[in-house]
């Protein structure tokens, strides 16, 4: 089988060869535990880690001292949410988040709920964005943290971060954002956006898997309780030996993203629009999920009415796409993100997430659109729902047996 066309950039991004080159020396020649303070091996490893920290910080306009390395965004999100909640639990016990957050944010909140915290899950509008008035109304005297993701992993929409940050700062509430899908794709600025905690994932921005970062503001200071106790690394917030090659990889990935963001943003937007146009021209009854304007250029989430998503994926097996979040796609439940947008279940079942990125070419886009159009048409010919639709029968008028 020839190499599939990779259109799953929200699940993970390929490691950039330049990142790989930067990491490789640290896998061998530069070995050493960066916490060994008594010999040159340790010092060199530490220097490399600190240089990487600067690069990551610079991409989000943060103080490098406020940045800690973790094993990835999942850990960063757990640490930020549970860390703040546990540290301030004597005084405050309310957290506001949103229904379309990543599973690791929602599950951290569920755990806190079981411990007695109160959680507000803000709804989203049909475009996938939260309503700032809902946020303002949800805030109470007991609210300690607002956790709203920067960019949604399924539908790519960008939440109004600066506005959320402003509201939180005014009310003296910490603002955490899961920026795994945003960092390196759109400009992020913890100062301008008044962000207090920010989660980063390396493998979503062309870096290696197994490393991420959490920004924890120092002025005004945000305190967190660590998830893991032990050796005191990362200012006691995250013990465990740091991996110099992984940290260097994340740093390099951030440096590259920083340099190439404007041109890459524009390039991807052209590709995305070209793809969307081709699909809309080639097929009827295709619906876009999530706002088109407030969206990163590397994402489309489309419902191909009357064609089931998993069946469609099987037909386009030489395209690597996703029918929902990768973590849950082994289950047959329709995406909770699409459901939160008010997409009907039958429509949610027909959705594909298409992610474009640094290595996507125009040729691939054209080929992918062609293949999808061909397969959707073939499956629609096989679909009883499409047949009813063509005959003008409203499928809602039929009494379906639930099973």
């Amino acid at each position: 089988m020839e190499r599939p066309i990779y259109l799953d950039y929200q699940a993970t991004t390929p490691c950039d060869p330049r990142v790989l080159q930067a990491m490789l020396p640290y896998f061998t020649a530069e070995f050493g535990n960066p916490h060994s303070r008594n010999h040159a091996y340790g010092w060199r490893a530490e220097e490399a880690v600190e240089a990487a920290r600067m690069k990551v910080a610079s991409l989000i306009n943060a103080d490098p001292k406020a940045l800690i390395f973790t094993s990835g965004a999942t850990e960063s999100n757990n640490l930020a949410i549970k860390g703040v909640a546990h540290f301030y639990q004597e005084k405050k016990d309310h957290i506001i988040t949103c229904a379309t957050e990543h599973k690791c944010v929602l599950n951290s909140c569920r755990q806190l709920e079981q411990e007695g915290f109160k959680i507000t899950y803000l709804p989203v509008d049909s475009n996938g964005l939260i309503d700032l008035n809902h946020l303002k109304e949800a805030i109470t005297e007991k609210t300690v943290l607002v956790s709203i993701m920067a960019v949604n992993n399924e539908i790519g929409v960008i939440q109004p971060l600066a506005e959320i940050g402003k509201i939180c700062r005014e009310r003296g509430i910490f603002f955490h954002t899961d920026a795994a899908q945003a960092v390196g794709k759109i400009p992020m600025d913890v100062e301008a956006m008044n962000i207090d905690l920010l989660s980063i994932s390396a493998h979503k921005l062309y870096g290696p898997k197994g490393v991420g970062a959490l920004y924890v503001r120092r002025k005004p200071r945000v305190r967190i309780q660590s998830l893991i106790n032990g050796g005191g690394q990362e200012r006691g917030m995250r013990p465990g030996t740091l991996s110099p090659p992984l940290c260097v990889g994340l740093g390099e990935a951030c440096a590259i993203a920083s340099a190439e963001m404007p041109s890459e943003y524009a390039r991807l937007k052209v590709l995305r629009d070209r793809f969307y146009h081709a699909i809309k021209t080639g097929l009827e009854e295709v619906y876009l999920n999530g706002d088109l304007e407030q969206r990163i250029p590397g994402n489309l989430n489309l419902s191909f009415a009357h064609v089931e998503g998993e069946g469609l994926m099987m037909g386009i097996k030489d395209l690597a796409v996703s029918s929902g979040s990768a973590c849950t796609s082994a289950s047959l439940e329709p995406s909770y993100v699409l459901r939160a947008l008010g997409v009907e279940e039958e429509m949610a079942h027909t959705s594909l997430r298409l992610g474009f990125g640094r290595f996507t070419t125009e040729e691939e886009i054209d080929l992918a659109a062609q293949k999808i159009i061909k397969e959707v048409n073939r499956l629609r010919e096989m679909s009883p729902l499409w047949e009813m639709n063509r005959e003008g029968i409203d499928i809602k008028s039929i009494k379906w047996a639930a099973h």
């Binding site: 089931e308 329709p334 096989m382 679909s383 009883p384 047996a401 099973h403």
Partner: protein
């Protein structure tokens, strides 16, 4: 979740896709599943005077296993009597297609579709 070669074969080359005239008294139509659950099967049989299924057609909205299950049973029931067809069990379908546990419901849906089509046919015969 790798699909078996049987599933892939039926998915890529589905047998007996199509529609029979549902108004015909000798045609039974079964429509099972629900769009909100992610799969819908329409199975139609045309039965001759001897009670033998001489044609079968299907249309399915669903995953590869659902399409393969319905395609497979149209092949199996053709040439069988209505009574013989009604004895087809979902376990036989699942076994033949080597369906993983999460896909067993596809074979159950196919069994339901056969029964629904036969019931519809018998209902029409009684009324006639």
């Amino acid at each position: 979740m790798a699909y078996s070669t049987e599933v892939i074969d039926h998915y890529e080359n589905p047998r007996n896709v199509g529609t029979l005239d549902s108004k015909d008294d000798f045609v039974g139509t079964g429509l099972v599943g629900a769009p909100a659950c992610g799969d819908v099967m329409k199975l139609q049989i045309k039965v001759n005077a001897q009670g033998v299924i001489e044609d079968a057609k299907f249309k399915t909205f669903g995953c590869g296993s659902a399409i393969a299950s319905s395609s497979l049973v149209t092949e199996w029931i053709k040439g069988k009597t209505v009574e013989e067809a009604s004895t087809i069990k979902n376990t036989t379908i699942a076994h033949h297609l080597a369906l993983p546990p999460v896909k067993i419901h596809c074979s159950m849906l196919a069994e339901d579709a056969i029964r629904a089509a036969i019931q519809d046919f018998k209902g029409k015969q009684k009324a006639a």
